[in-house]
Symmetry: C2
Subunit: 433 residues, 2 copies
Amino acid sequence: MTAHASHNERTDSDVGDIATYMTNLGQAARAAATRMRRTVTGDKNRALLAMAEQLQHHRSEVMAANAADLARGQESGLDAALLDRLALDDARFDAMLEGLHQVAALPDPVGEIDALRSRPSGIQVGQMRVPLGVIGIIYESRPNVTLEAASLCLKSGNACILRGGSEARESNAAIAACIRRGLREAGLPEATVQVVATTDRAAVGQLISMPAYVDVIIPRGGKSLIERISREAKVPVIKHLDGVCHVYVDATAELDKALAIAVNAKTQRYGTCNTMETLLIDAPVAEELLPRLASAYAEHGVELRGCERTRAILDTITAASEEDWHAEYLAPVLAIRVVDGIEAAMEHIDRYGSHHTDAIVTEHYGLARRFMAEVDSSSVMVNASTRFADGFEYGLGAEIGISTDKLHARGPVGLEGLTTRKYVVLGDGQVRQ
Amino acid sequence: MTAHASHNERTDSDVGDIATYMTNLGQAARAAATRMRRTVTGDKNRALLAMAEQLQHHRSEVMAANAADLARGQESGLDAALLDRLALDDARFDAMLEGLHQVAALPDPVGEIDALRSRPSGIQVGQMRVPLGVIGIIYESRPNVTLEAASLCLKSGNACILRGGSEARESNAAIAACIRRGLREAGLPEATVQVVATTDRAAVGQLISMPAYVDVIIPRGGKSLIERISREAKVPVIKHLDGVCHVYVDATAELDKALAIAVNAKTQRYGTCNTMETLLIDAPVAEELLPRLASAYAEHGVELRGCERTRAILDTITAASEEDWHAEYLAPVLAIRVVDGIEAAMEHIDRYGSHHTDAIVTEHYGLARRFMAEVDSSSVMVNASTRFADGFEYGLGAEIGISTDKLHARGPVGLEGLTTRKYVVLGDGQVRQ
């Protein structure tokens, strides 16, 4: 009865030898990537819209597959948060369809040559944006990631191999079937998007060890998954590790703005990587600002943990330990430290932060400029909430993740991060002297 | 009597425990990198020019150190090519000084924000070019690499840890002493450039395993060195692997241009990675072009190895084996294959090439366009010699290597490749809704 069977997906039992199966996926992906390099934008967009139509047409089958996953999850005792991430309802389904339309409407980064410069030798030299090739994406329970990842890889001209969580296997298989039908309808190779049809963990080990067939791995999930994959991968990994984000309120800050930013950065959402985890306050404004902050946070039920100087002003809060300065709480908990000026604030950020997103609140021009130049994080902000560190808020139109790496892509990764630039040289018979 | 002793360099015997020694270098480099983030262009340029003055002032000591290295090399039986790479003469010394002046004259990439865009939320978002941080460079015998690497890392705002070949240890120590004096004179931290003072191989193992202190490793040297380092490194590596470069002469090519390009791409220099190793010729022009090519190559003493169809026209040449298509000869040897059109040519390039540099010679607009879009190499050329794939020829003003990676930097790497871009957000109290 499951969508799994009805879509003729291969099950765990019939992929055969995992190494052979993954090598076959890899070879097919490489061939599809070669074909995708010459696929024009219109065909890619047509495939995206055809996928949306297929999903709409097979909506009940996808929902039935999801219901089967949910039933199995409940039986096996998955926790409520995981079941929630796994569940598709009409709103989430509609959001998936809407996402495909949005990606189709984005400008295609492939083929862009930003400048073609003439050199003394007579050649013209430029850099052309091209797909990376084959992208492997490893993720956990949310089935809508299957579609999101597939659409971004497709639009950027890449082939992809997707490995979702075992909890979502029937949902993913049903979505994959719609993706394949959409690709076929648009005349693109079906291997442009392949969903790994086995939940055997060995498949992940294979996927990250095939440099001949996979150009980059993007793991989406918890820190331990990402660390393990980075450690074991034989291909480059675009990592998204933790966000220990700071807001530093300088003595010249307008305190109303500081209050609004500090509250928003902590409370707008607790579980996101761009949520503030430690608030640093310049000593001269601590006495005025801390009580106002404390009452605002109390309204949101945020637990405060402070340094000695903070506790001298807010005497009812817990003492922050060394561990608190390192903590990514992802919860209604905030560490607060009173510091003496921007140097001390930047030292704290450098020492304890994760170089993800850090903000200063100040009206001092020179300090704003220093903070921007010197804080070594993927996003550095002046007078804005750290919660803005996001591909959509930044105008990328999409986001496959937020890179905490320094090389290649840093910060929110959109379509551009799924491409690379090669040199193109145009001549008229030039030779080197 | 050696410069080694006279400059008070530490010798192999007194660095003590290698792990501790390297950790100390790493910590000092990290601190210097933090300071370098706020160092303005003028101070960096002053340091570069001060280094040039110091080198000029201590020229005889550096030359004496080099003479000591050469003497030791001769004693230990280094081959002539290695001794040549090791040797400094007046011309090479002058070129080093000139290089420092050139790097000082280059525009500083750091701090550049290409565009700052307003978002609906009211924030402005841009990307600022910033140093990578600490760069580890591992290289072989040429002592001028010490200065070249140091100057490019400094200009791009990075700290670096340099590990040269043991053959050049006294030369490198003498050059390092001049670099340090130049940094001191300009008021920059001496740890901005550190030369590893031990030739113990364990130091390399440590250098590539300190992600807390080193942001990226750039190995410069033979393929086996680079492969070993890539395999073992725990930090990202910018790789420069082999160049199996192709020229494809299409049937519509102007044969005089094809001849000039094919001869230049092979013979202008044999030992470089952008030298053509395989020539592909479209069948309709093979009969006319091959004899002309053969006589041109004969003048240069290039040995030809051909496919069956090539040998049907040039019947005296050796048969090319499967191995020849994979070969990076770095020598006066060329593999030639007659193919049927651009599809076959691109298939050959994809299958046997190393994705370094590949060129088409054609007067057909559509084929030129296809070749540019579809050949997945770091440099793709139309009607120009592959030998142009070079940072100076491309106008980068400098070159630390040619990356064969797809991520981060691809092709010739200049100052920009030693930087990364972080997001900067300017607001006026904005919070996320």
